[in-house]
Amino acid sequence: MRLARELGLVFASLALAFGVGALVAQLSGLSPSAVYRELVRGAFGDQYRFFQTLTQATPIIFTSLSFLIAFRAGLFNIGAEGQLYMGAFFGAWAGFTFVLPPYLHTVVALLVGALVGAVWGFIPGWLRARRGTNEFVSTMMLSYVAIYFTSWLVSPRGPYHGTQWANQTVRILSSAELPRFVRGMQLHWGLAIAGLLSLLLWYFLFRTPRGYEMRAVGQNPRAAQYAGIDVPRTMILALTLAGALAGLGGAAEVLGTHRRFIEFFSPGYGWDGIAGGLIARAHPLAVIPAAILIGALRAGGMGMDRAGVAPADFASVLQGIVIFFVVAPELFRLFRRIRRERRVLVHSQP
């Protein structure tokens, strides 16, 4: 019942979004039918394109999970982008520094990425829990620190400037590579890991006492405290796990797709994670289709540009419209809840 309603809402929002998108296309002098044809073809037209969509979706699943776990604990992790960069750089670093047997090397590099991402989540978590620092601001600020710190590391003056023609590290050792599904295509095992993590996170949130505590803190911290739950510790744990998930996503992206760390490699996967988490209504399993939707918009947008029916900029506009419409109901609900709470306050005054 609830599922059907939620799904109905999502599809209605999608239909509305594509309707408005068509209108915008028309007003911009583009042909809506051509735009959508090329969008769909670009995203799902053949195996190569579909795999491109999935490749785009992979890091978005990680960052959506990262946003979601913090959100479930009542916190906003706006800094998945930075956590992703930290995980990506240090994953690559482990990939070209350590000498280990294949597979084991991959696993170690992924774990290093997750660990450094976790540190990048722990810091704002600790600040929030012990010092009351707004995590919205601190995660976002730390994000920029991470992006520019890693950029410096691979710049000509930095210690890991690996190639002359670009700001990137040297290639990781082949033992650290995350294998690809099909030769010649970028889609790699990171997608499987992401899917597995969605399941694990679902289990964690809905089937373990720790996950229960996290949701309790998110829904009503006062009641959680009354119930003897250590609220600050739970908050720290949530943001640390959020950082680990995004960091792992960054490491997988580097070990699977690029095979080296490249400055500014992410087209905004961290930010897409916010949209992905909200579209999925903070449900770990719904994150997969949500991320594929965003990945399809990205991949399809490139297809649209290549086919010459619309500039790449229009793809961004369309992405914006879709995300806005699908996320908006969730935002309305948030506002409604805030308004209701305010009303309750007024009533309890006498």
């Binding site: 006492p209 949701r215 009641a223 405290q225 003897g228």
Partner: protein, 508 residues
């Protein structure tokens, strides 16, 4: 006979689940200070909020200066010359006194604020009523008393001739109260009409010309102060008879001390002592009632006893073991559980299911979990279904969110959970607040059942009737202190009412 300022007839105002005003008549004259007296929840603030246009009455008529009026909003009230000073000030801290007074009421000189003109008028008002404040000071730099003066000035500046003061002394020091009273007298002498909302008897006796007493949404009466005595007013406030709807059975007490509190001092959010050096004991087979007007330290006392607020000084023993400053979870292990005052904000997680709520705080217990990583969902559901049966909870399934349940059923979920822990000591804070009669009786019966089984129950309630009906002993809290403890047989409602309101205490 002075001119009538306000007359309210048959005012009725309902909120979901409560009738805040059940047909109240009220009249106010120019040149008088009219006290509005009653316990918390008696309907004082609601009545005055209706006069100020914050609420619309469900029925009833208001007259101002003899004219029938409908006061749709505070701006209408202001135009009618009505001003209200709330308990919580509505000032912008970063702005100066003058700027605050100008907000929404800016006198212009050309396109600019006429600061000079305003300052002159403010200074005249300051002079006239002895409200000393510097118009150029920033509000954030002012003391609470000064901020209150700014609020009064603001109302007067807007031309108020009818001034409502909602518990104005609650936040003031003794000296500030003196100054406020001087101002009020000056206002009265200028022919203004003042409503003084309070639940402090001696203040009503000192400053008011007439007093209207409300109880549980109804008007008990209006008396001129010359005919009033503290005893009479106290009796009007709390009533005389106790309505017994349940009856405690006689029990055999063993004299075991289950809870001992020694010299407990607790601070509130502002760091001021809310509980001062409180000591008492709770024994087996006993309900100890803590009576008092809300805001006299009960909340802080309960929070300190249940692990939600660290005490500043003093000791707490549960079952003979020291338990000072333990967490809620550790206290539960010692056998002390808590039925919180606000089940929706504290006792439950509203979007969680009934089953999830019934194990809240117990979710790590052996029966419900294997370590931190495995939840025994089957057992939780089975336990929840059992709770639904034994506590007669009306719910379509144990998987529905508790926000879909009625208040009474929500409270049963809390009771089922806390009493399911087999407690020795139960701290019940306003356990029947907001419930209908059936819900109340259910809670009362459960509390009495606990007593028969040998538990100690600390019942903190604002409802004196409830306490007199259930408790073996009655303690009264006033200004953070326990001013007396009476065995129920010796407790006289009238005397308790007086003690609750800060009157003299004979017994100990």
């Amino acid at each position: 006979m002075p001119a009538e300022a306000v007359r309210m007839e048959g005012i009725v105002k309902r909120f979901p689940g409560v009738v805040a005003n059940a047909g109240i008549d009220f009249s106010l004259s120019f040149g008088e200070v009219h006290g509005l007296l009653g316990e918390n929840g008696a309907g004082k603030t609601v009545l005055m909020s209706i006069l100020y246009g914050l609420y619309q009455p469900d029925s009833g008529q208001t007259y101002v200066r003899g004219e029938p009026v409908r006061i749709r909003s505070p701006s209408v009230a202001i135009r009618l010359g009505i001003g209200m000073v709330h308990q919580h000030f509505m000032l912008v801290p970063r702005l100066t006194v003058l700027e605050n007074m100008a907000v929404g009421w800016e006198p212009r000189r050309g396109p600019f604020l006429d600061r000079e003109g305003m300052r002159k008028r403010i200074e005249a008002l300051v002079e006239e009523y002895g409200l000393s404040v510097d118009p150029e000071a920033r509000v954030e730099e002012l003391s609470v008393g000064e901020q209150q003066r700014v609020e009064i000035l603001k109302a007067l500046y807007r031309g108020a001739e009818i001034l409502i003061l909602d518990e104005p002394t609650a936040v003031l020091t003794e000296q500030e109260v003196e100054a406020l009273f001087k101002t009020i007298r000056a206002l009265r002498d200028q022919g203004k009409a003042v409503v003084f909302i309070t639940h402090k008897l001696h203040e009503a006796m000192t400053i008011c010309d007439r007093v209207t007493v409300l109880r549980k949404g109804k008007k008990v009466g209006t008396v001129p102060i010359s005919e009033a005595t503290p005893e009479k007013l106290a009796e009007m406030m709390v009533g005389r008879e106790v309505v017994f709807r349940v009856q405690p059975k006689p029990v055999q007490k063993e004299g075991k001390e289950l809870l001992r509190v020694e010299g407990l001092t607790v601070h509130d959010e502002r760091g001021l002592p809310a509980v001062r050096n409180v000591s008492f004991s709770l024994f087996d087979h006993e309900i100890l009632g803590i009576a008092g007007v809300e805001g006299n330290g009960q909340k802080e006392l309960v929070e300190a006893l249940t692990g939600l607020r660290p005490p500043k000084a003093g000791k707490v023993y549960v079952g003979g073991k020291e338990a000072t400053g333990l967490s809620a979870r550790e206290l539960a292990q010692l056998g002390l559980v808590h039925i919180p005052e606000d089940r929706q904000a504290t006792g439950l997680i509203l979007p969680f299911s009934l089953a999830e709520n019934v194990v809240l705080g117990r979710h790590r217990e052996d029966g419900f979990a294997l370590g931190p990583w495995v939840q025994l969902r089957r057992r939780i559901f089975r336990y929840a279904e059992e709770a639904v049966r034994t506590f007669s909870i009306v719910a379509p399934s144990v998987r529905v969110p508790v926000q879909n349940l009625s208040g009474g059923n929500q409270q049963r979920v809390v009771l089922a959970r806390e009493l399911g822990r087999k407690p020795k000591v139960v701290v019940a804070h306003q356990p029947t607040r907001g419930l209908d009669v059936a819900g109340m009786e259910f809670v009362w019966e459960k509390l009495l059942e606990l007593r028969e089984k040998g538990c100690g129950v600390l019942l903190v309630s604002m409802d004196l009737d409830e306490i007199l009906m259930l408790a073996d002993r009655v303690a009264v809290m006033y200004r953070g202190e326990i001013v007396g403890i009476w065995p129920r047989e010796e407790a006289d409602k009238h005397e308790l009412g007086l003690a609750m309101l800060g009157g003299k205490v004979a017994a100990r």
